[in-house]
Every structure is written in C-alpha cells, then in structure tokens.
C-alpha cells in the first residue's frame, strides 16, 4: 500500500529536484492542461453520462472545500463535522443579498459571504474550542443540521423549502469562442460546432465556472501554503500534536484553533457562494448532513494535512461516481467498500504529509540525495 504514497512523493521529489526554470515550465504546462481538460475531453477521463464541464466544476468546487476543511482537520486537528453549515451560509448569503432581498452584484456578494461565514465560525468556535476533544465534533454536527433547519423555517428570509432562484452570475467578458475536441477512438478532431465562449457564464455551459473555481483553488492553495509555512502553521501543528505541551511552549492554542476554524469557515463560505452562482437556484435540500460526511471523507482519504492529497481526493471522490454512473446505485456500494478498504489498509490516507523532509529547503538539496532518500524513506 505504500506504493501509493511513494509514487506521489516520488513525483514531488523529482519535481523539487528540477532546476527552477524547468519547475516553472512544468507547472505552467500542468496548469494549462488542467484548465483545458473540458476542452480536450480526454478519452477515458471524460464522463459520457454527464456533462464533463459540470463534473469538473464540482471537482474544483469540492477541492476548494477540502482545502478549507484540511486547515481545520488536517492542520489544527479539529474534527469539524458540520462544514456543510458554512457552505450553506455562504450560498444563502449570496442568494439573499444577490437575489431574494437585494440585487447586489456577485463580486460584492462573495466577500460579504466570506465575512459572514468567518463571523459565524468565530461565534461557533469561541465557546466550543475552549473545551477539548469530542465536544467540537458534537457541536459542529449539530450546527450543520441547525443551519439547514433555519434555512427551511426562516421562510421570509430564505424562501423556506422553496429556496432562492435567479442568483446573480459573475460578469461576462465574452471575448472569443474556444472549440472543443472530439475523439474518434484516440484521434482528436476539432469540433467547430461546439464552442465555449470565453468568458460567458450561464446555465448552458459550465466550463467558465470550472475555470473560475479552478483559479480560486490555485489562489487558495497559494495562501494556504504561506499560512502553513510560517509561525501560524507550526502553531497549528504543535497544538494538534500535544495541546498542553504547545501551550507550555508559549503557543496561545485557543487563539490559533479559532484562527484555523474561522479560516476554514470562510473558505467554506467562499465555496458555498461559488456553488450558488453556478446553480443559480438553491434550496435547503442542497445542504444535508451527508455532505459534511463526504467532505470529511475527502480530507481523510487524501491524507490529513497534505494540501495536494486532499485536492486529489476531492476530485477523485467527485469524479468517480459520475464516471461510473452506468453502474447506477451499485457505485455507492463500491464507494463505501473502497472507503472501508482504505480505512483498514491505509488509515493515514492516500498521501499523508511526509513531514521528515518538509523542513529541508528542497532547493538546496542535490537531486541524487533526494532520490536516495526518497527511495529509502518510501
């Protein structure tokens, strides 16, 4: 089972060992390919039973969710079982301010949604993070459900179970069209009749939303990296390792836990806002407790604390059920079995963070050295 992580770590090591220019070229190439996935429609990967662009949007959206939840669970070690609550608050903030009760533009709604979720994170976290252990899991579990019940019952504000429609879309640019590729076996052809307008946000084409979500994923990943590689990230890790010892080494653990919790909440709110503008219609049924479980599964499967791991897991767990749609309900059984197998054989997740090499400035280490260690440590 270690083959999985040594494979990914091998990629990581080889990548880090490259000269700077090669790294930049490779990273840009990879990013371009990822952006163009729905245009390229690669056979085997593309989903035939559902709109590939829409699936990719969900992959990126849940990757964003997983990055946010990874800060809470992976870095700070706080088991948050109500993450869907923040997602829902973000979505409904956009719905209420952008459609139901005001007509604010989306680009204003999104930051407001993030502030609202940040504040709800603080309000929920301040009393619960002072106590330890299971309380947080129980309280957040309740929180996720309470948010949904409020959405159902606060009819005048949220439209109750009818929900909110006509949620604003991002501003359009509409500069040019990009034709898709179609595949005949493994031969690609340009399909001029099927074009994606750059950038036209609407119900007919999910691809611009995918690009938007993907861009946010990259931005948040970058900020996440900066947070983790700093005093803040160390404080989170120390707190998760041993809270008493951390406190006695001068870490104000409560403050840092609250920071992680609230940051996670704000990213959850951002994801919710993105979901709302893509759907243009939301109702409380979109935010059931099952999603909280799915989000936690993404973080755990990916390897708590590894940002790339949780991104890959989120994309995988979103893509696979769509890819294997033809299996109908059997895919949920397979999904459950796969999770159980993972829990038994690889409880640390597919790609647990490999901390032993993290402190090293990878740039300063010679490639052969890394290789030797990469193999030895795998």
């Amino acid at each position: 089972m270690n083959a999985v992580s040594s494979f990914f770590h091998g990629i990581g090591d080889r990548f880090r060992a490259l000269p700077r220019w090669a790294k930049i070229v490779l990273a840009i190439a990879a990013a371009v390919i990822v952006y163009l996935l729905p245009i390229i429609n690669p056979p085997l990967i593309t989903t035939t039973d559902s709109d590939f662009g829409a699936v990719l949007f969900l992959c990126a959206l849940y990757a964003l969710v997983a990055i946010g939840l990874n800060i809470v669970i992976g870095y700070a070690g706080l088991l948050d079982l109500g993450y869907i609550g923040f997602f829902a608050i973000g979505a409904f903030t956009v719905g209420v301010l952008g459609s139901a009760h005001a007509k604010l533009p989306l680009l204003l709604c999104i930051p407001i949604a993030m502030v609202v979720t940040l504040v709800s994170g603080i309000v929920l976290g301040a009393p619960t993070l002072r106590v330890r252990g299971d309380y947080l899991a129980i309280v957040t579990l309740g929180f996720g459900e309470i948010v949904r019940l409020i959405l159902v019952n606060a009819d005048s504000l949220t439209g109750g179970s009818r929900g909110i429609s006509n949620i604003p879309t991002p501003p359009n640019l509409d500069l040019f069209g990009i034709p898709h590729l179609v595949w005949d076996g493994f031969v690609a052809k340009v399909d001029l009749s099927n074009q994606t307008r750059f950038l036209q946000f609407g119900v007919t084409d999910s691809i611009p939303y995918y690009w938007l979500a993907l861009t946010l994923v990259f931005i948040v990943l970058f900020l996440d990296w900066r947070m983790q590689n700093s005093r803040v990230g160390r404080a989170w890790e120390a707190t998760r390792e041993d809270e008493d010892a951390a406190e006695l080494m001068g870490v104000p653990t409560f403050r840092f836990k609250l920071l992680a919790f609230a940051t996670g909440a704000a990213i959850g709110g951002l994801s919710g806002a993105l979901f709302a503008t893509k759907q243009q219609f939301i109702n409380p049924d979109n935010f059931t407790i099952l999603y909280s479980v799915l989000f936690v599964a993404m973080v755990v499967v990916g390897g708590q604390g590894n940002r790339w791991g949780v991104v890959v897991a989120a994309a995988l767990l979103t893509w696979a059920p769509e890819k294997f749609r033809f299996l109908a309900d059997a895919r949920f059984l397979l999904f459950g079995l796969a999770l159980m197998a993972l829990a038994i054989f690889r409880p640390q997740g597919l790609m647990p963070p490999r901390r032993s090499v993290r402190a090293k400035k990878a740039d300063e280490v010679a490639p052969d050295q890394i290789d030797a260690e990469g193999v030895a440590r795998a």
């Binding site: 900020l223 005093r231 160390r234 041993d242 008493d244």
Partner: protein, 316 residues
C-alpha cells in the same frame, strides 16, 4: 465529584504529567517511512553562545518565590504549605521521594494548576491567574518528566515552536510575507540551530522527534525550552533513564547552561548527582518541605536521610 480538581479548566486533561502511555510508545515507535540514523551519542558543543538579552543584567536576588502553596486534589494534598525561592543565576535542586509533589510544584509554577491557597511570584510579580502560554512568555520554560515533544515534527521544528514564543507573526504577516515574517523566521532559525548545536543535535535537525534516540529526545526538550528565551529553566528529571556516564555529562551540560546566564530549577531523583551540580537544594516529602539548604547541609540532614531511606521517623 465535580470540584475535586481545583484550578483546572473543565474538560482539560487533569494532569499532563500523569502516565501518558500512548504518547510514550509513540515516542519510541519507529515509523516505516523514516530511516534511523546511526545511533551514536551526539556531542554537545558547549562553546556555542546561547545567551540572550532576556537573561543579561537580571537583578540579583529572588527570581521566583513559592509562597505557602497548598494544592489539594480531592482528598490528596499534593502540596502542603510549601514555600521556597530561587535566586537569580543559581541551580536549585528540588528533590524528594516518589509522589513527594515535585512535578506538581512545577505544574503550579507554570500555570497548569491553580494552587488551592498561596501563590507564586516571578520577578516580584504574582503569577495570579495567568494562562500557561503567558507564563512562558514571562520567562519560565520547562521540560516534562514523560517526554512530550511534538513527535511528528522535526527536531528543528520543535525548537522553532519554542522560539515562536517570543515572536508575533500572525495570519496577515504570514499571508503577505511582511518583513516581520522574514525577520522572525530567520531569527528563529538562527536561534534554533544555535541551540541544536549546543545540545549536540544539529546533525539530526531534520529528523522527526519520535525517531530520535531517547537521550536526544531528552536533550531536544531542553533545547525547545531554551528557545523560548526563558529566565528560569525548569527541568523535570532530565536524566531519567540515563546511565551514570550520560547523567554526568548531562549535569555538565546543565551547568554550562547556567554559566550562560540562565537560572535553573532541577528535579532529580539521584541524590548524589544533585549534590554535585546544585547551589542549593529544597527537599519535599508528602507535599511538605522538609529541608532546604546547601548540598552539604542536606546531605547530613536526618529528616532527608530518613525520607530517602524510607524510614519512619517515629520508629526505631
């Protein structure tokens, strides 16, 4: 019984010192994804200058005063009217048989427990209800009787966490990579490497704490505590589990820490060892102070001898 543990926050683990077997085993487990280095005893380099301005020019006299501290756990009186003080620049030994209350005394001094009555003054100021991390920032750092490193962090990172005690980089400085972030990161790195070198751990800086040999883990705890720039360093049986040669070497190391300006409070079981390094000694037994004085005086004190031999004073 809701109020049997005075001063502890509800829900917190009652005593971080009590036998934490889970963590103990974790500390010695060898994980499959790390190579064990050669198990050689590292050599501390005591020529490294680890002094900091925090400990320079401290006023002579009493640095810390324990004033009539009593601490009861339900029916157990762990500390019973204990008073003593620590002078600036000295090594004070705190000794006593098992269960005498030495570790509990540490816990009171570092804010883990609030005393039932009495109090602790540091640099003339009462500690009051200060939180643990605030006390650390005031200048009291400690190690643990059961090693409590951050096991899944590297040795270097463990020390960096300690150094962060006197840093203030927050979310915004980190996100925007403000000059403060860079300044504190490089200060922390310098300090950490200096301390690792002093402790003889610099070659193992990038190894996970849990993969270090036992002795290195003990020394890493000291390095981590020193990184907080403490005025007072409290060591809870730092040589536990060492053989006599290792113990002697560690005692030399502790002396050279003192020589660089730090004040040290040392808990140690081994009477003979304590005699050699300490300036003064306080003896606890059953939560009471039974003696205090120069090592030579303690050695000849009948109450101490009785306590250590386990002889009931009334008998014989």
């Amino acid at each position: 019984m809701p109020d049997t543990t005075p001063g502890t926050t509800p829900g917190s683990t009652p005593d971080p010192e009590q036998h934490d077997t889970a963590k103990e085993t974790r500390g010695t487990r060898v994980d499959d994804d790390t190579v064990l280095g050669p198990d050689t005893e590292a050599t501390p380099d005591t020529s490294v200058d680890i002094s900091v301005e925090e400990v320079a020019d401290l006023p002579k006299g009493k640095m810390l005063e324990v004033e009539d501290v009593t601490l009861r756990f339900g029916g157990v009186t762990a500390l019973d009217g204990v008073s003593f003080h620590i002078n600036t620049g000295e090594i004070l030994g705190l000794i006593g048989p098992n269960g005498a209350g030495k570790t509990t005394c540490f816990n009171v001094m570092t804010g883990v427990y609030q005393p039932t009555s009495g109090g602790v003054r540091f640099m003339g100021e009462p500690l009051g209800k200060r939180q643990k991390f605030q006390i650390t920032k005031l200048g009291i750092a400690r190690t643990f009787q059961n090693i409590r490193l951050f096991h899944n962090m590297t040795a270097l990172e463990n020390v960096l966490v300690g150094a962060d005690a006197h840093h203030s980089t927050g979310m915004f400085s980190a996100l925007l990579r403000l000059p403060k972030h860079h300044a504190e990161e490089s200060e922390g790195m310098d300090r950490a490497y200096e301390l690792l070198k002093f402790m003889g751990l610099d070659k193992r800086a990038d190894e996970l704490a849990r993969n270090l040999p036992y002795g290195d883990q003990r020394r890493l705890e000291i390095a981590r505590a020193l990184a907080t720039n403490p005025k007072l360093l409290c060591l809870d049986e730092p040589a536990a589990g060492f053989n006599p040669a290792e113990k002697a070497r560690l005692m030399e190391l502790i002396q050279s820490i003192r020589d660089q300006g730090y004040t040290v409070l040392l808990i140690e079981h081994d009477m003979k060892l304590v005699m050699g390094v300490t300036d003064r000694i306080v003896v606890l037994e059953f939560g009471k102070k039974i003696a205090e004085g120069l090592p030579a005086e303690i050695q000849d004190n009948p109450a101490v001898i009785a306590a250590y031999l386990g002889v009931d004073e009334d008998a014989s």
